[in-house]
């Protein structure tokens, strides 16, 4: 499991800049980032190097920010890896709510999952020997 920050933002010019300014000023480095867009607003989800610092800074800047834990999988950076994992989860009847991925020199390819049943998903991923157990920094 890795820590993820979810930030609620109104869909207005300058809001993403307002969030990233706070992170920049605290010297927080983004590792993975995605926006779920829903018309009048969006949810920014991100994995960062200094999670607690980023959480506190965003909170005191007035953002609605939630700290949660999501599954992460570490695989080789090559074709077919996301297919292999998502098929295994699907076969077990586990629903994926959202997913995003990033690659880095240090971690090969990391895939972030939010699923409807963490426990069962972890068993499946353990068995495949892909569950990421390290920490993001």
């Amino acid at each position: 499991m890795v820590k993820q920050l979810s930030v609620f933002v109104e869909n207005k010019p300058g809001r993403l800049a307002a969030v990233t300014k706070v992170l920049y000023e605290k010297g927080v480095n983004l590792r993975a980032f995605m926006i779920a867009d829903a018309g009048d607003f969006g949810i920014i989800r991100m994995v960062v190097d200094k999670t607690d610092e980023a959480f506190n800074a965003l909170k005191s800047a007035g953002f609605t920010v939630t700290l949660n834990e999501v599954l992460a999988v570490e695989v080789e950076d090559r074709p077919g890896e996301l297919y292999r994992i998502s098929k295994a989860l699907g076969d077990e009847g586990i629903n994926i709510e959202y997913v995003y991925a990033f690659t880095s020199e240090k971690h090969r390819a990391l895939i972030i999952f939010r699923v409807d049943n963490n426990e069962r998903a972890m068993k499946v991923l353990e068995k495949m020997n892909v569950l990421f157990k390290g920490s993001i920094d």
Binding site: F8, V9, A38, I43, G62, T66, N68, Y98, R114
Partner: protein, 431 residues
């Protein structure tokens, strides 16, 4: 504890006899000395002899805000300027300012009324009272100031604004009682957290909040958040300023019957309503010299109770102000009070205390949008979290108001904050 024990516990029948005597004197006095009332009485064919008892009150005409504007500045006065010792004026945001003059005795009775109220909710000479209502032409600051001093409490005349200094003084001096608008106090509580402290870390034990309608749920929120006991205060600038408060029973505000005669009427028809019925508060000043008012239409919606209070006081009570008859909004033909919206919002823990109501007209149809800040405790990870919460607030509003409103959830701290009276309605309709 009572400030004036004999009068505060006098049987209601005796109080009524005082009221009748004072009403007869008032009518004779304004007929003689107030050019405005003399003219009005003559137009309506009313002679002072026609008013013998309280049941004759309804023969007298109402006095409205417009009368004060039309007779600005001195046309409502019943004494020469030489006897007037002070002026207060309302801000005049909705027209010409309204000017109120006070004789020395008017000030004395104003202070007396508020002293009775403050003592009834437990303020004593040990208290340090931070007065964060505006000082100046507005009546809030000076009204509380003189009453606090009269009781022997220590007045801290900080006035409204400069929130950081307010919190520092509160901490440093060990302030025990604060008087301000409820919305400003909530802002102060939030500001204290930002400063890395909390109202709970101060000696503050009580707040006396008014100058704008607020709800029972807001009281609960204030008390949960800050650990103080919150009391309601009522008054209007035309009647003197802050005059009446709740007592420790918190079962309505005591209206001092020896100085003020109250009625509750249907704002549309002007008919008197009975006890327990919701309507507009109408007040006749029985003791005011400089600017007596007969059947003053306060515009405030409330319910009257005359049963003796458990605290032992016999004077009639009004419930907390439920809204304004004139800031009642008419949306798609339906009457909506902002207080109803506040009531709904305060019952939903995922949203905060700050909100705005925006009215627009799109293709001949009224649209109401309620913007409300998310509570800082809410957990959001998926768009559905926001959408479900939005729907929940919208559903509750529809049930209570009888019409639909669009809800926009926004981040904490993004809506405007108010240091004085909150202005939460933006009406962009051009009707």
């Amino acid at each position: 504890m009572y400030w004036s024990p004999v009068i505060e516990r006098m049987p209601l029948e005796e109080l009524k006899r005082i009221q009748e005597k004072k009403l007869r004197a008032l009518v004779r006095n304004v007929y003689e000395y107030s050019p405005f009332y003399k003219r009005k009485f003559r137009e309506l064919g009313i002679h002072p002899e026609d008013i013998r008892g309280l049941e004759d009150l309804k023969k007298l005409p109402f006095t409205r805000k417009q009368d004060l504007r039309d007779n600005y500045p001195f046309g409502m006065f019943a004494v020469p300027i030489s006897q007037i010792v002070r002026f207060h004026a309302s801000s005049g945001t909705t027209g010409k300012p309204t000017l109120v003059g006070y004789t020395e005795d008017d000030i004395r009775i104003w202070v007396e009324s508020l002293c009775r109220g403050l003592v009834s909710c437990g303020v004593c000479n040990e208290d340090i009272m931070q007065i964060a209502y505006g000082y100046g032409l507005f009546t809030g600051g000076l009204g509380f100031h003189y009453a606090a001093e009269k009781i022997g409490a220590t007045a801290l005349p900080v006035s409204a604004g400069n929130t950081e200094r307010q919190i520092n003084l509160m901490k440093d001096l060990g302030v025990t009682v604060i008087a301000c608008t409820p919305s400003y106090f909530l802002y102060m509580a939030e500001y204290a957290e930002k400063m890395g402290t909390s109202i709970k870390e101060t000696n503050l034990r009580m707040g006396i909040f008014g100058a704008e309608p607020w709800s029972e749920e807001t009281r609960k929120r204030i008390e949960d958040k800050t650990g103080i006991t919150a009391y309601d205060v009522y008054g209007t600038s035309e009647l003197s300023g802050p005059l009446f408060t709740e007592c420790v029973e918190r079962d309505g505000l005591h209206i001092w019957a020896d100085h003020f005669l109250i009625e509750v009427i249907d704002p549309k028809t002007g008919e008197n309503l009975g006890e327990g019925e919701r309507g507009e508060l109408v007040v006749t000043t029985l003791s005011k010299e400089a600017m007596p008012l007969i059947r003053w239409r306060t515009g405030d919606i409330t319910i009257m109770e005359t049963e003796k209070c458990n605290c032992g006081r016999t004077h009639p009570r009004i419930l907390r102000i439920l809204g304004r008859s004139d800031d009642m909004l008419i949306v798609r033909g339906v009457n909506v009070f902002p207080s109803q919206i506040e009531h709904v919002l305060m019952q939903i823990p995922e949203v905060g205390e700050h909100y705005m109501i925006i009215l627009e007209r799109k293709e001949e149809l009224d649209e109401m949008t309620v913007q409300v800040e998310l509570s800082d405790k809410v957990k959001i990870d998926k768009p559905a979290d926001i959408l479900n919460l939005t729907r929940k607030v919208e559903d509750r509003l529809r049930v209570v108001l009888g019409i639909s409103a669009k809800v926009e959830l926004v981040n904490p701290g993004t809506l405007q904050r108010f240091e004085g009276k909150a202005k939460r309605v933006i009406d962009k309709r051009k009707i």
